[in-house]
């Protein structure tokens, strides 16, 4: 009785407010009842940039000055391309959201330190232009822009960016005179030391050599929830299981741990696969997506001519993301 009285009174007040007689004290906002969470694109991108600091730091520590140069070229080219394509559409260049800077750094860190300057520039323009702007800008792209750029230059300049391109026998930096651990293992069965792989004292793309740095940055991203933890977890689990099945307790000193710590596995799991635009939204979808990438990486490593497959695995699963989203729509509370 009392409640119904209250209700009537409330209704009267709302009606009065609607009629313009005074402020409505009990007006109820329409759903969804969102509270400003501060989870803006800019905050997420700044998180990613912070998480990349240890990775970039390790790259500079191991590869010295050329690593800085590579990141600077990619940053300048990506930001310029972002501004150019925004101006072509008569938009204000959205440089402040940080997404172009993230794409630039991930692209730079996924290239070998020996990559010629033009590959970094062309890769950056392809990443922002073909990977992002052509689809309608940030949030509309089907594929991870950095990986589109990398695939473009990787296929274009296979000589400079393929397995052989990583090695520079005349380099004054020790690790650069060696083949990458995955190439050495694939071609001559030479196994790398686990400690070297973990710390990063091996040749490889700038950001991928140090498993430790990738783990630190990646865990930070997951704790800040700027990356969906299910994707790296499922990817590493799937890759680890397949690696265990393949190597058992270790073939010629190459174990499942070697598989996880070598190549771009950790860098890809935490920084590339977790791109919020090109990965699925639903929890189950993220697990399927992550596991698919992990499995594809291992298939490419074990059965193809390429020593490493994170880039192609991510691009392939990106293509499936809309389908995965559709398959895994969760049942709403009370739904059938």
């Amino acid at each position: 009785m009392k409640t119904s009285g209250m209700k009537n009174k409330d209704n009267d007040k709302t009606a009065a407010a609607n009629a313009g007689f005074g402020p409505a004290l009990t007006e109820v906002a329409s759903s969804p009842h969102l509270v400003e969470s501060g989870r803006t694109t800019r905050r997420m991108m700044i998180d990613v940039l912070l998480a990349l600091v240890p990775v970039a730091g390790a790259a500079v520590y191991f590869f010295r000055w050329p690593a800085v140069r590579q990141m600077a070229i990619c940053l300048a080219a990506c930001l310029a391309a972002e501004a150019l394509f925004a101006l072509m559409r008569r938009h204000r260049p959205p440089l402040a959201d940080g997404s172009a800077a993230v794409t630039a750094l991930i692209l730079a860190l996924s290239l070998p330190v020996t990559a010629p300057w033009y590959t970094a520039v062309i890769g950056s323009v392809a990443a922002i232009g073909v990977g992002k702007a052509l689809f309608g800008g940030l949030g509309m792209n089907l594929f991870n822009p950095a990986m589109v750029g990398r695939a473009f230059v990787m296929i274009s300049f296979a000589g400079a960016l393929g397995a052989a391109g990583y090695q520079d026998p005349g380099s004054s930096i020790d690790v650069m005179t060696q083949a990458t651990p995955l190439t050495a293992f694939q071609q001559s069965g030479v196994s790398a030391g686990l400690a070297d792989l973990f710390l990063g004292r091996t040749n490889g793309s700038l950001g991928e050599t140090s498993a430790l740095a990738c783990l630190i940055g990646g865990l930070f991203l997951c704790i800040r929830r700027s990356a969906a933890w299910r994707i790296p977890a499922a990817m590493l689990a799937a890759a680890g299981i397949i690696a265990l099945l393949d190597t058992g307790l270790g073939v010629e000193g190459w174990t499942a741990a070697h598989h996880l710590f070598s190549g771009a596995m950790l860098f890809g799991a935490f920084f590339i696969a977790t791109d919020p635009v090109s990965s699925p939204l639903t929890p189950l979808g993220q697990i399927i997506y992550g596991a698919g990438i992990g499995a594809l990486v291992m298939v490419i490593r074990l059965f193809s001519g390429y020593p490493e497959g994170v880039m192609f695995a991510v691009l392939l699963m990106n293509a499936l993301t809309p389908l995965i989203n559709r398959w895994t729509i969760p049942t709403p509370f009370g739904g059938q």
Partner: protein, 205 residues
């Protein structure tokens, strides 16, 4: 609706109704043979020969065509001239014939030709039909050459096999591979649409 004259047919085929950029026909061949200018020009010439001959022949026999048999007649006519073109290429330009592979015989199923037989040659006189064939095949050749020019110079630094860019040019291998065909075609199509939008779509429809 008045039937277009020979001159109108000819002009329309080149840009306003360009078979590739406006009608989006014959894309399989367009994407497949445009990784260098030589094969693009050869393909354009072969299509020109087949289209002119087929249009002329169909136009001459248009009064005897019956509706339910016309497609078969078109196909047989086209196949005849495609065979001629294919054997001529094999006889006089053997390396090019090898390089183009199945794409010359596949002109038989190129939609542009059957489309022109149906739209123009089966309804209008021989002069208009030939003008139409010339316009459409020039439009097709123009599209092939524009694609091939972009792909060959980026992919190899050359045009018609002659070095245009300095030897230091890093070849963008992807441009001569199938992905380069799709990327270039998409970008040029976007450019064509942008130009026609800027001109206010005066020549639409």
């Amino acid at each position: 609706m008045s039937t277009p004259s020979a001159a109108q047919r000819f002009v329309r085929g080149i840009l306003p109704e360009n078979p590739v950029y406006r009608q989006m026909l014959g894309l399989c061949a367009t994407l497949a043979v445009t990784n260098n200018l030589k094969s693009a020009v050869t393909m354009g010439a072969a299509v020109l020969f087949v289209l002119v001959c087929a249009n002329l022949m169909v136009s001459l026999i248009r009064h005897w065509l019956t509706p339910h048999l016309r497609i078969v007649i078109f196909t047989l006519t086209i196949a005849t001239f495609v065979t001629v073109a294919d054997r001529l290429l094999a006889a006089f330009l053997y390396p090019m014939s090898k390089a183009l592979g199945p794409y010359i015989p596949l002109i038989i199923v190129n939609c542009i030709i059957i489309c022109r037989c149906e739209v123009c040659a089966a309804k209008q006189g021989p002069l208009t039909a030939v003008a139409d064939a010339l316009g459409q095949s020039l439009g097709f050749a123009l599209a092939l050459v524009s694609l091939a020019a972009v792909r060959e110079i980026l992919g190899t630094g050359m045009w018609f096999g002659f070095r245009v860019l300095p030897a230091a040019w890093p070849d963008w291998v992807i441009m001569v591979l199938p992905p380069g065909a799709f990327l270039t075609f998409g970008l040029l199509l976007g450019l064509a649409n942008w130009i026609s939008a800027r001109r206010g779509g005066k020549e639409e429809a």
